[in-house]
Structure formats: structure tokens, C-alpha cells
Amino acid sequence: MPHFLLRITILLCATLSFNLFAAESNLHVDDPYVRLAPPGAQTTGAFMIIKNTGSADRKLVNAESTAAKTVQLHNHFNENGVMKMRQVESIDVKANAQAELKPGSYHVMLIDMKAELKEGDSVPITLIFDDGTKTTITAPVRKLPMTMPAGKP
């Protein structure tokens, strides 16, 4: 179960690193990552889980990163098989709930990267919420799987 152990480790690390932030806010970010962009691509997405343990609804209203010239919040819709990507004003992080930024859904879009990102690089991303809270996370760059998991047909 190395995968399970890895997940626990990631969770532990995430929990530890966000404890400071949690002291003054009810927002926690789990498992952030940036997808390794193919060469030639000018954009990529950052994904993460934002948890709100507080009793007030929050919204992610903006994101910034020194890694890209432009950073936007985006969502995807599948409309009759046509994939539509749209910039959104904000992403809801409801009270006692979580927002999942994941492939095919909400993501932080990094546009016009200043330098080509490599697998294992760390990308700082500052998340800005509607109450003015700012938090900077460090998202590792991960490559998409290009081979099928062994033993899993």
C-alpha cells in the first residue's frame, strides 16, 4: 500500500504546514499540485482541495503566482460533449464544506508561464478570499500518468 502511505504523508505534511494558517482562518488547503505543462504549451492548471471548517461561507476570489504572467480562476462545463472553459469571478468554499479544484472542473489557470516548469518544481500560489484573507501555498509540479497503472486493467 505505498500509495496509501504516500497519501497519509501528504495529508500529514499538508496539515502541519497549514496549522499556522488555520490558527487565524478556517480555511485549509490539501494536496495542491500544478500539472506539468507539455512543451510548447503556454498554460497549465493548479488543482487543490480547499476546506472551510468555519461557520461562514467563503469565496476564493483571486489567485496570484510569481510563476505566471496571468493567473485566473476557471471552470469547465461539458455541454453535450463540447468542453467549455470559462473564467469565473469566484469559487465558493461553503461553511463546513470544501471546494475541489480538479481536472475537468474548477482550477487556477496559470497563463504565460515565466519559465518552463519542470516535474518536481514548487510553484508558489497566493490564494485570496472574499474576507481579505491571503494564503500562500506551495504546489509541486506533477506529471500526468502516461502509462496504465500496472496490474489494474
Binding site: R35, A37, P38, P39, G40, A41, Q42, T43, T44, G45, T70, H74, H76, F77, N78, G81, V82, M83, K84, M85, R86, Q87, Q98, E100, K102, P103, G104, H107, M109, L110, I111, D112, L144, P145, M146, T147, M148, P153
Partner: protein, 207 residues
């Protein structure tokens, strides 16, 4: 526009979002369920005719007519696409990696850019093989690409550029499977698991 009209428009928009949430939104954690559903419903979307075409690759013109005897996989997308295209191409790469070298020699995979304006041959040359060394990025003039897309029932629409001149392109996300006889055998919807792509390729390679 007076205030009332704005309110009505706002309410209509909210109603639209609610309908979308109710019918199309897949809540978190249902990924595997959704995939099973795709499995069961692996329908041949519409039934476009398919057909031969010639487009440009970084190494010169490529024609579907020259690929008889091979299974050709087509995917329409664009490199500015941060999520949908990489996801599809990584799924395709996973399927290709599962093939034997003999099988792989009888398979061609073409990534057709629907954004030739930005996706120059230089961009396509480095972009497509990132996913799998056998995937080739091809494109042509806007008109040529539109004709090919029409043959296969692929749809796309360039969106308005934002303040920075950046634009996205809405596009359908299918992997089209062209049989060794050149006929369109299947249109695999977005999210089709790699193993199903492998099965489809193998079923088409059978004599």
C-alpha cells in the same frame, strides 16, 4: 436596460445554473461511478461519416488515405487548452503504452489542432510527443481544419479574447477511431478509460 430587466436576466441565469447543477453536475467523489456510466453508455455519439483528408505535420503533409491497414486515432484540440486536451492525450498515451510493439506499429495517432493561428508546426512538434512519442500534431488552414472537423462531427468555437488577447476554444473531446479500411469505427467520448481504447484498437486490428 432598466433594473427590472437586469433582475429578470439574473434570475434566469441562476435558474439555468440550478438546472445545470441538477442534471449535469457530478459531485466530488463520483469519478469512478461516472466512468462506469461511460463504460455502459459507450455510444457512437452521432454517426458522422468520417473520410479522407490531408493536413500538415511538422514533417510534411500527412494523408489519411496513406494509412490503410492501420488504425488511426484522431483527437481535435489545441495546445492552449490547460486541462481537457492534456487529460485526453494522457489517456490516449496510457492506451498506446499498453500496446505491444507489433500493435503499436499498426496504429497512428494524430492530434489535430483547431487553433492553427497559435499552434504553429514548431509548437505541435514539441507538444504532441510529450504525451507519447507516436502522437503527431497536425493542422492546416482554418478552412482545412474546419472541413476535417465536419467530416468527423467534431465541433469547436473560438471564444472572445480577454483584455490580454488570450482566448480559449470550446471544443468537443472525442477520440475518433478510424478502422484499417478508412471507415470511422467509433467516437469515444471524453473520459473513456484507457483500457477501453486499447480494446477498441485491438478489435479493429483483428483480421
Amino acid at each position: 436596460m432598466d433594473r427590472k430587466t437586469i433582475w429578470i436576466a439574473l434570475i434566469a441565469m441562476l435558474a439555468g445554473v440550478l438546472v445545470w447543477l441538477a442534471f449535469f453536475w457530478t459531485p466530488d467523489g463520483t469519478q469512478s461511478l461516472a466512468q462506469n456510466k461511460t463504460h455502459a453508455q459507450l455510444q457512437q455519439a452521432e454517426t458522422p461519416a468520417g473520410g479522407d483528408f490531408t493536413l500538415q505535420s511538422p514533417d510534411g503533409a500527412v494523408s489519411l488515405a496513406d494509412q490503410r491497414g492501420k488504425v488511426v486515432l484522431l483527437y481535435f484540440g489545441y495546445t492552449f487548452c490547460p486541462d481537457v486536451c492534456p487529460t485526453s492525450l494522457s489517456t490516449l498515451a496510457q492506451a498506446l503504452s499498453a500496446l505491444t510493439p507489433d500493435e503499436l506499429a499498426k496504429v497512428k495517432s494524430w492530434f489535430i489542432s483547431v487553433d492553427p493561428e497559435r499552434d504553429t508546426m514548431d509548437v505541435l512538434k514539441v507538444y504532441a510527443p510529450f504525451f507519447h512519442p507516436t502522437i503527431v500534431g497536425i493542422s492546416g488552414s482554418g478552412e482545412q481544419v474546419a472541413q476535417v472537423a465536419k467530416l468527423y462531427g467534431a465541433r469547436y468555437m473560438k471564444q472572445k479574447p480577454d483584455a490580454n488577447g488570450l482566448y480559449s476554444v470550446d471544443h468537443s473531446s472525442f477520440i475518433y477511431v478510424v478502422a484499417p479500411d478508412g471507415k470511422l469505427a467509433a467516437s469515444l467520448p471524453h473520459g473513456t478509460p484507457p483500457q477501453q481504447i486499447v480494446d477498441m484498437i485491438r478489435s479493429q486490428l483483428k483480421p
